[in-house]
């Protein structure tokens, strides 16, 4: 099985490094060797760690592209579905507005007027416009903020979220990596983000962000244990952490012509997992760290500009990856008739995402003490019960 990582490792080994290193070696020869690190760089690139780094760079960039493409679609879906729930239209910026760019480039600014075509489109360009705007905004560091941590905090959040995309496969063919510990690594990467939230919350020197960060940490304690326990049931049945094995196992047992995906025997675990993953990706009803009503914008109150744009993107990436994990664990992953596996996978993932979105715009937010109560007193016992069911299931089949 070749993953994207294997492919890019091969690409670096066979093409990139052989093409690059002669240039660097040439540099080494024309300059005095004691002052020129080009040769060292070339030798490092040829070694195994160097190839590793190069391969990972390519993989992460591809993952980023996949991630941002999906973010644009998910944000678009979120805004449109929310608007329809609210009896509105949502963003409607049309592709006709791009003509204005062409006019401006040609240097001919016509008499500006509101065209009926400008706001008559499907509105997917709205996210692009928002993204471009974020790039144009000033990068502010508040006067009394901790400069270093303020800069690092969002980076931790964003980078750990993008790392997630690399770790979850779309299908056996389209897989960025095949880490031996599989989903366990994913969950480890998932729980890095609250550290970034806490760091930013503290560094901003703002009480709202501080409370937001603290809430994030408290929430992490409450839902992480039931989350992992509900996943443990699936791991137990599959006997592996690898997503490939988990999906393959779900196709093994059929009952009355229905594949026994984990959602059927472990329905309890599915419920616990969905509640916990909602808390993990911080969406309503569990978006306490950025509760708009009481904490102005939560832990993101003081960050703006590009940091904010990437943080938004990272949040949606986390939601996307959460849906991906749910699909792999409980909904049979990329298995399905007729269509290719990737398409089935995306259909299931987007189904869960639409459920997340509808949930977000139809229920209020719950309180901090209530989520702790829910996590410790309801979800933890339920996940233990689910574990017992999983053990029974393994014994029976």
């Amino acid at each position: 099985m070749t993953s994207l990582y294997d492919w890019s490792y091969w690409f670096c080994e066979a093409w990139l490094v052989p093409l690059l290193t002669p240039l660097l070696y040439f540099q080494e020869h024309i300059m005095p060797p004691f002052s020129n690190p080009a040769g060292d760089l070339a030798r490092w690139m040829e070694s195994d760690p160097g190839l590793n780094v190069l391969a990972w760079t390519i993989v992460v960039n591809v993952a980023l592209m996949i991630g941002f493409t999906n973010v644009i679609i998910v944000v678009y879906l979120e805004r449109k579905i929310a608007a329809r729930i609210m009896d509105r239209r949502g963003p409607m910026l049309s592709f006709h507005s791009l003509k204005e760019i062409a006019n401006d480039l040609a240097g001919s600014i016509p008499e500006y007027g509101w065209k009926t075509t400008t706001y008559a489109g499907i509105g997917i360009l709205q996210n692009v416009a928002d993204g471009i705007k974020f790039f144009c905004k000033e990068m502010i560091v508040p006067a009394k903020a901790d400069r270093l941590l303020y800069t690092i905090g969002p980076v931790i959040f964003i980078s750990s979220s993008i790392l997630l995309l690399v770790l979850v496969p779309f299908s056996p063919r389209v897989a960025a990596s095949s880490a031996p510990l599989g989903l366990l690594v994913v969950m480890a990467a998932f729980s890095i983000a609250p550290i970034g939230v806490l760091t930013t919350g503290w560094a901003c020197n703002n009480k709202y962000t501080l409370i937001g960060g603290m809430r994030s940490a408290a929430q992490l304690m409450a839902y992480e244990i039931p989350l992992l326990l509900s996943m443990a049931g699936v791991f137990l049945v599959a006997g592996s952490f690898s997503p490939m094995d988990i999906v393959a196992q779900q196709q093994e047992v059929w009952l009355f012509g229905i594949p026994m995906w984990n959602i059927i025997p472990q329905f309890l675990g599915f419920i616990v997992f969905m509640v916990c993953i909602l808390a993990e990706v911080e969406r309503i009803p569990f978006d306490l760290p950025e509760a708009e009503a009481e904490l102005v914008e939560g832990w993101t109150t003081e960050i703006g500009g590009l940091r904010l744009g990437l943080t938004f993107a990272a949040e949606y990436i986390r939601g996307f990856v959460g849906a991906m994990i749910a699909t792999v664990l409980f909904l049979g992953g990329w298995a399905g008739p007729f269509l290719p596996g990737e398409i089935w996978f995306l259909i299931k993932v987007y189904g869960i995402l639409v459920f997340f979105i509808i949930l977000r715009w139809t229920v209020p937010r719950i309180r901090t003490d209530q989520i702790l109560l829910l996590g410790w007193k309801r979800l933890l016992p339920l996940s233990l019960v689910n574990l017992a069911i999983a053990i029974l299931y393994v014994e029976v089949f």
């Binding site: 009896d87 509105r88 409370i211 708009e292 009503a293 009481e294 229920v363 209020p364 901090t368």
Partner: protein, 364 residues
Amino acid sequence: MAEMWIHMGPQHPMTHGLWNLRIKVDGETITDAEPELGYLHRSVEKIGERRKYFMNTTLTDRLCYASAMTWTHCYCLTAEELMGVEVPPRAKYIRTVVLELQRIASHLMWLASYLPDLGLITGFLYGMRDREMFLNLLEIPSGGRLLYNYVKIGGVKRDLPPGFDAKAERVMQTLERRLKEYEDLYDNSKIFRMRTDDVGCYSASDAINWGITGPNLRSAGVPFDLRQADSYDAYPELDFTPVTTSAGNGRSDCFSRYRQRIDEMYQSMDLVRQALVKMPEGKVMAGSVPVRARGEAFRRTEDSRGEALMYLIGDGTDRPYRWKIRSPMFTTVSAAPHFLKGYKVADVPAIMGSIDMCIGETDK
């Protein structure tokens, strides 16, 4: 975590206006609170002394932007008492109709702003959508969308156009249907109940002592309604009893305040129907309205938010000598520290939203 003061406001999504709530928190528990007003102090009482009696309706419209009609009506009632003007009966009925429509619009505005406080932004859009129907309805006789200047000293500006009652009936039927939906969406929602039940409690006796009036008092089970206690306009001729709700033991909590306002919307629709049926024919404006006035007068009315009282002193000129406004929210906000203590930071929007703040009238 050590105790710290948090300033919620003047720019804060919780405030619904322009005020500052300083809360002292220990972790996430509120140990002390102190409201701070005055960011919207426009000195209406002072500049009202520079304007003639009939010009002040411009200012009273802008006192509470969510229920402009009731405040202008309160002012006109006081000025009529001061000048001894008798309002024609048809004008009284028209006033009753528009006041109750305004009350519904105001309560819908409250509903719209309360749900985002709990984290449900969809509720805002639903409330605004329904409120828009009532604004359009009030636009028919008055010509204004938000601020009407419709009630005048001595009557109302224009007669209701023909076909108004049919339109009102259609709008009210729509609202009744929608309110049923909202009861399904909110009352039956587990999370909504978790956020509102037993939050922000106060007892009826405390509420009376603190000077809380209106829906906030009636939600503690006290049947005190100025439409009956100090009746005005066509209310004595209509058949109704004050709606009360209670969270048990004569207490009021966020949910009972929510329920109270929903029930009052039903009652207001009933009153509008009664008034439209009973409406007599005739003039809508008193024959002659004096320009000058001497003496003093006060009237109190049941505003959408509680007891509105205006006190006017005239010195024989065409401008008031002293004009004093009692805002129901001014007193209610002063009691906020009492019913905020002991709850969580996340409860602050839920509690302060449930008492229906309106800063325009509070800061005057």
